[in-house]
Symmetry: C2
Subunit: 395 residues, 2 copies
Amino acid sequence: MNAKQHDRRRFLKKSAALAGLAAGAIPAVRGQTANAGGDLSYGERSRFVTSLRVGDGGDNASFGRSGNVYTPIQDSIGIITPSSLHFSSSHGSYPPDINPQEYRLMIHGMVDRPMSFTLEELKRLPFVSRILYIECNANRPGPENKTVADSHGKTACSEWTGVPLSLLLKEAGVQAGASWILAEGAETGKHTKSLPLAKARHDCLVAYGQNGEPVRPHQGYPMRLVVPGFPGYSHVKWLRRIKVVDQPYLTPSERFHFPQGPKSVITFPSGEQRLPGRGFYMITGLAWSGGGAIRTVEVSTDGGQTWNQAQLHDPVLSIAHTRFSLAWNWDGEEALLQSRCTDEMGQFQPTVAEFGEPKGVTPEGVLRREAGGGHWPFIQPWRVNRDGSVHNAIG
Amino acid sequence: MNAKQHDRRRFLKKSAALAGLAAGAIPAVRGQTANAGGDLSYGERSRFVTSLRVGDGGDNASFGRSGNVYTPIQDSIGIITPSSLHFSSSHGSYPPDINPQEYRLMIHGMVDRPMSFTLEELKRLPFVSRILYIECNANRPGPENKTVADSHGKTACSEWTGVPLSLLLKEAGVQAGASWILAEGAETGKHTKSLPLAKARHDCLVAYGQNGEPVRPHQGYPMRLVVPGFPGYSHVKWLRRIKVVDQPYLTPSERFHFPQGPKSVITFPSGEQRLPGRGFYMITGLAWSGGGAIRTVEVSTDGGQTWNQAQLHDPVLSIAHTRFSLAWNWDGEEALLQSRCTDEMGQFQPTVAEFGEPKGVTPEGVLRREAGGGHWPFIQPWRVNRDGSVHNAIG
């Protein structure tokens, strides 16, 4: 904290020198006659705000390639991701255009009372809201990435609102011997996911609300399953049925994924950004864990020789993005920035070497993807060059 | 809680009877080929989601009348208000179309070092994020209102991110004898507000972020002053200068407003909505206070004869919208619904009579607006008729 305060004072002195001006010189403002916000009934962004989701291969156009688009988290502010910019991995299907009047959610299988709910019926039930991150397991640091959207843009954080799945299962009457559920979406490919019944009863939501409005089409309108802390894959979009079963089904798209471990990344400064010059900056980023709340984030600016405790910004919520920052006075020399975190379970974010070691894979092997599937939480370094340019420094 | 659990069980039995169906009858889904979310780079709402801000007089078109548009809080979900739907009171001016490259914030007056900051300079400073409501004092229950957007739509809640004003004031060096600030916006009318220096130093933000993205034009792009718990009027949009002074200035638009007291309102069911029939519903609404966190919300369904403790949904944050709900089994008879709340300071939401009494004004006089300006926090009742229609029952 002392170092930080010191940094801040240095900035303030410098800024005072730079920013001094004669009192009374009020800057002019342009464009007084334009209605910059567009139609008053629905306020759009400023025309100067142009952040967009970017797809695989750097295109940001429509659905040609993989159907995957990434959150531009290099532009993220706070912890909420605008719904328009929430990443989307659509498993090769267009979002179905579901008429809410015709929507039905079916609960069947090993239950006493198979049920079908309309959207209106679901919205009449007890509900909860939670601010939760969702991260796709394909979020993978590696030398092939240029920006933090490339390496970490498959995560986002929203206020999700919906009906506890436990309530629906209780309603349907789960039969003895049931141990799993199968959740199916309504897209062309009928993406399906097996989940342990214990998880379904613990904290899953059948969610119709995202950030204060109905879930958007790319996120599963009108209904998505939210499975806190599990890979994005599990959060079945366009949810149309839940079948209670006695074993996991190996559907074509099936993999077994469980809570994600702690992960953090610096979003500013990050790959392809540029610092305009030496001086005071706030290094900032996001941390999250499927294991609960983030407990600590540390930031190194010297390639991991020394680590500084970052500030965690309120609110620090369980299984949510957590904003961190560290005041930094850049001296204009090359610097290697990275962050690491721990969660309330005591889990820690590994280095590439620590990640590979239990699997018997070298760091080089990990980066060549020889360490198997699952979550890829290892530390992401960014190199700041003397010209202020920032580059991916992994591997 | 027992009554609530009982209600829930009744619903579940009823629903089970209604919803029974043969397992295997998976509902059909339409529109598999449409990309319902539009351009992948920026995900729009579903075409079936049509909630809009409505202006004075019920028009939702452009800027003809007062320039005021209200949050459609009858459709609100959770506590975050979508930025597109955040109410806007623009004091007769169009949002200026400010180029962020040309934007400057000036701090001057009784300071040692008058300063001017670019947007980029401000974004390099230490920042905080807070989920905070902003409510316009014109939010006024009364017999003239039909919907909850009419009576309570001039409130919204966002995650605001920005620089603590205290930091900028420290930087500029406030001189002895200073006691107020004057904050000025860049719109045509140059809306200006006097605020006590103590408040400015306590918790005000110079905010560039709202709900994870730059503040939208109707909310003050690129920068608005956020004054937690004070009337919307104080949260100067398109903020261009802060002058440190030794007295409050009575600008043409000036009034002195201080923290708002506790207020709550039921958003469902509310005016002009219709219940489809007797049975189980979740009564839900929002509560907030400029005095801190909401402590309790009570709901009455019998015109105030009896009150039930409502559930407060997490997160319950200081000076933020707080979602509440109460399970209710409607028997099909006429019902009078209302909510009341208290905050952590022990302040309570008054009835119309309690609101008028210290001012020597009768309830009828309060509703005829004889009780002076300021905040209008009194209780809002909704009548549910036997046909399920819901109407404003105040006065």
